[in-house]
Assembly symmetry: C3
């Protein structure tokens, strides 16, 4: 796994962009694989859930933008990394005392990086602010949604009532939209991902909450 902290010094922008994509892939693979371990899937089930989580968002991004076959099928690196991340999660699963926290941490990292990559691709297609937000958000949350559907779990994306999740992704994608032209690609992607991570962090502290509509029968 590449060292995320060395990214500031990379000479080649493409390398930097790719490194972020790779970290997001491994992070999402571990999040999916850990859920599989918790649900007592066998080794291959854990692998599949890890891989699908890792490449799902990118597959949605590439399919929506007509970029077929999607990158993860053309470049074997992604699936190798997803397999490596999944196997690591399978191997060390029992030592992770708190599954929830580990899954959540990797999930946030994957969300942030994939949202930024998807938003960046959407700006290149000349999409407007809503299009970029939506495409970026789908790229970010797509893998997790597929993971939860396959694991027959309630999709976390919409149900984390106490936290901002899809909101964070949409905000990060919007940041990419408004900063385009002002920053180089790597800066754009890091800024978008940073917005997602900061919003996720702040919302988990309970500092920000979105309103929930009260229903007549519950407001009595």
């Amino acid at each position: 796994m590449p060292d995320p902290f060395s990214l500031g010094s990379v000479a080649n922008i493409q390398t930097g962009l790719r490194a972020l994509d790779i970290i997001g892939t491994v992070a999402f693979a571990m999040s999916g694989a850990l859920l599989g371990v918790r649900k007592r899937f066998d080794l291959f089930g854990v692998l599949v859930l890890g891989c699908v989580t890792a490449v799902g968002g990118g597959a949605i991004r590439d399919t929506l933008t007509g970029n077929t076959p999607p990158l993860f099928l053309r470049d074997e690196t992604y699936l190798w990394l997803a397999i490596a991340g999944s196997l690591t999660a399978f191997a060390f699963g029992t030592r992770l005392a708190r599954f929830e926290r580990a899954i959540s941490l990797f999930d946030t990292l994957g969300l942030a990086l994939f949202t930024a990559t998807g938003a960046l691709g959407a700006t290149k297609l000349g999409l407007g602010p809503l299009g970029v937000s939506f495409a970026g958000m789908l790229s970010g949350v797509g893998g997790g949604i597929i993971r939860d559907l396959l694991a027959h779990e309630v999709p976390e994306v919409l149900y984390r009532r106490d936290q901002l999740y899809a909101t964070a992704a949409a905000a990060g994608a919007l940041a990419v939209y408004f900063l385009q032209g002002h920053l180089p690609q790597l800066g754009l992607q890091l800024s978008g991902a940073g917005v997602v991570i900061v919003i996720r962090f702040v919302s988990r502290r309970g500092w920000v909450k979105l309103p929930v509509r009260r229903l007549p029968d519950s407001s009595a």
Copy 2:
């Protein structure tokens, strides 16, 4: 929101077609957002569920026909309308005494209009009767299926045992297929949507039912 009753007098066919697409978008957004309110999603969750319901059918239609990036990403109008419809549903949610009925009404309207649009697009690709039926039906029911999957509800499409739902969509799409060449585009779309609405209305009165296969253990 455009006035649906003025559609008969529109001079420009494209405007008419677009108006129908827009009404379907708002209707499906409200159906999705109301489900989100009922399930106590927060504001952004309601927005996302509304938008995904509104654009899901069109996204499936465009992806299947290779029309990428899908229209809803290229033309910001759709997402703005979906957001407006979702916010309206969020704001007035508590005053809607009967959620079920309101969701169902908007859902039928969205189903009818999206089925017709999808079927029309499929005829332009030169597809046969089954291809047009299936593509039209998927365009019509796709948004609702994605809505139900994300809300972790049993997909209504196949479970409304007392009503015709997907059947109505398939029949409407088939009408578009057989009427092509005999009617202008706007007429085709209105006819297809009309067939869907009539079948839905009739079936909700309980006048029409499809057979259910009895199982050995239940026929004793």
Copy 3:
């Protein structure tokens, strides 16, 4: 339905490939329709579930490879066959004393044939071993996953803990990858499908099992 046992003598390779695709379509349609009957869907619901199961894997395969509109929309044969298979299952459903076994048998056949077709298509795109495995596996398991999601069942793909399912598909696809260039297309497809069927058969006897990770709280 074509006779699978006459396939060895077909003069025309294309006919052979197509015959396999057709058998897989009918088999998956029956698997989906039988699940619909068991869940007490009405006639049209059974038809839709049968058709979606039958064409789902191919739709995923074609969408991922940019082959739009997907084959099942362009060639009406597939939907006619899916309808015929679904109606047969609906008609004879009550006489099938053991639903589970029948669904499982047809499911294995569909899995094997669709995996092989998907893998073959992926090799033509020049994909690597992981890409071919993943694309083949998705083509094979896609229809069943969509079937289970629509029927609100736990997706069988990852939950059959006592059997190899997705593993069998991935192995069959990998066989297609490594045999390419050594066998003609029909041989490739039959080999890939054969690997899937053998692994499924062996694993159902309980001779092969994959490890499941023990969790701290369950290893006490």
